[in-house]
């Protein structure tokens, strides 16, 4: 199936090239720098959060068009990252986050190829690339992007996304017949009250960290059979933005459940300043004590200008999967601009 898929994708890519000169009509180039550090009562001084490391990178976004309009969008988002928790040999790595092309077939259908969000839950609706607060995606699937192909589109009342990916996350590889099939149907992002219903089925590989080059190490050559159904929602009301998601299903034969609730508050008088409160929990084996990983985070975000953001967060992990409880303070300097 995947060989046929590869031939199809390559053909599509060649067709896209032949359709017009190989030049982007419009493009955007961002530079990015992320400095993060803090103190944890378990690990003491830390130079990373659960999902963010110190890094520099870029994002290159392009639109290709011909006389009849735009037909292709590409995005390449890459970071050179330093993980202070690793030894010096493994600390540096290149992370390819977005690397996709989106081919417009018609107004209601677009084909996405490359490395992009699985179509499940809140994650594809939000930009968590540079934020301390994250969705359930890492705990749910184990990664936020995967390599593969997707079909997506929009109608007047709802959007749909579906993706067939390798089940490998950052690395381009298949082991143990790994794959990941995800699908989400939801209301348009422009509505104040949004909600979506997601499904996931796949054999997913678990990795040790988050690198594309050198390729991150697998925790096991055995893929985990994952099945999920998920609900997510966002509600914007005055200065408040409420976010929530829940995912339920199985990892092999174990029942799993995850849920997240978040309130963001923009200070009306100083709209570059936001306060955030999030609680998320992931239960790896329903009904078993100490299988829950729950975290409460209080954060604040202050935008110095369009490009530069300062963040601070206090988080408390209540159980951390049988390890002792952990409290952590993180500070972040984040630059993202042209």
């Amino acid at each position: 199936m995947f060989k046929k898929c590869n031939i199809f994708l390559s053909s599509l890519f060649i067709l896209a090239i032949l359709k017009a000169p190989l030049l982007a009509n419009e493009s955007l180039f961002y530079k990015e720098a992320n400095l993060i550090g803090g103190y944890s009562n378990r690990d003491h001084w830390v130079g990373k959060s659960n999902d963010l490391t110190n890094a520099v990178g870029f994002e290159d976004y392009r639109k290709f068009s011909n006389d009849y309009g735009d037909y292709l969008t590409t995005d390449l988002q890459v970071r050179l990252a330093y993980d202070s928790m690793q030894n010096s040999h493994n600390a540096w790595g290149i992370q390819v986050h977005n690397a996709w092309l989106l081919y417009k077939m018609n107004y209601a259908a677009k084909l996405r190829v490359g490395h992009f969000d699985p179509a499940f839950g809140l994650e594809p609706q939000l930009d968590t690339h540079g934020t301390i607060l994250q969705t359930l995606m890492m705990k749910n699937i184990g990664f936020k992007k995967d390599w593969g192909v997707g079909l997506e589109g929009s109608f007047s009342k709802f959007d749909y996304k579906t993706a067939l990916q390798l089940g490998s996350g950052m690395g381009i590889r298949r082991r143990d017949d790994s794959f990941l099939l995800t699908s989400r149907v939801g209301t348009p992002a422009s509505q104040n009250f949004q909600y979506g219903l997601s499904f996931l089925y796949g054999r997913v590989l678990e990795t040790e960290d988050m690198k594309t080059i050198p390729q991150d190490k697998l925790l096991s050559d055995q893929a985990i059979l994952k099945k999920r159904v998920g609900l997510d929602s966002q509600y914007l009301f005055g200065p408040y933005l409420f976010k929530g998601e829940v995912a339920y299903g199985e990892n092999d034969s174990k029942k799993v459940l995850g849920y997240l609730g978040e309130i963001d508050y923009t200070i009306p008088k100083y709209q570059n300043w936001e306060l955030e409160l999030q609680f998320q929990s992931w239960i790896n084996k329903l009904g078993e004590n100490s299988s829950a990983d729950s975290t409460l985070t209080l954060g604040t975000t202050y935008k110095l200008n369009q490009k530069t953001t300062l963040r601070a967060a206090f988080s408390h992990d209540f159980n951390n999967m049988n390890q002792k409880e952990e409290s952590k303070v993180l500070l972040q300097f984040y630059y993202f601009g042209v």
Partner: protein, 205 residues
């Protein structure tokens, strides 16, 4: 094969033409274009920043026309804009342009669709944080802007919130407790029309 495919993608990204810009863009242009221009067959996206096309002198000139200073967070020189030329076949039939505007509780994302003469065909909020968002998004409210032009908005003085007659003076605020968002909407639409005019014609009228 996949590795080869993405290597090629990476290379052609590097070697194609690039200029620095970023989009204050539509969440879903395909849906919006089809809804606002049902007869359209496609659209062209253009990205711009004031820094690239004129810098501080241009910003000063636009502020003068607007009658208000730009906000540091929402409207500085690096803020990106995207406008869309709507096509029927190869022929342009209109434009869509959106701006960010500081509202009472947060950003308003105001989007205008115009014909080729920049008369407003339609106006909507891509994002509005007001508790009265339903009233602002209602057809009853947004329909009042249909047919208005930049010339009409030049009769609106933002700082004094005063109108020198004309159709903008007749627009009714249907909200009960959100006059700040009503004023922000008028300011945002005026700014949107000034910027679109400049992007299309290269001068501030």
């Amino acid at each position: 094969m996949l590795k080869l495919l993405f290597s090629v993608l990476f290379l052609f990204s590097i070697y194609s033409n690039s200029f620095a810009a970023v989009g204050c863009s539509l969440d879903d242009p395909d849906r919006d274009v089809k809804r606002l221009f049902p007869e359209s067959s496609g659209y062209l996206t253009k990205f711009l920043t004031l820094k690239e096309i004129g810098g501080q002198p241009l910003l000063n000139s636009i502020e003068k026309k607007l009658g208000d200073k730009f906000d540091v967070v929402y409207e500085d020189l690096d803020v990106p804009y995207a406008y869309y030329t709507i096509l029927k076949g190869k022929d342009p039939i209109g434009y869509i342009h959106g701006v960010n505007q500081k509202g009472k509780f947060g950003v308003l994302q105001i989007v205008l669709a115009t014909d080729l003469k920049q008369n407003i065909i339609s106006f909507y909020y891509q994002r509005i944080s007001s508790p009265e968002s339903g009233k602002f998004r209602s057809n009853e409210f947004t329909a009042q802007f249909k047919g208005l032009t930049l010339a009409d908005f030049y009769r609106y003085n933002i700082l004094d919130n005063k109108f020198s007659d004309g159709p903008v003076a007749k627009i009714v605020d249907y909200s009960t407790n959100s006059p700040e968002d009503f004023r922000a909407t008028l300011r945002g639409i005026k700014k949107d029309l000034i910027l679109l005019d400049y992007f299309l014609h290269g001068q501030v009228k």
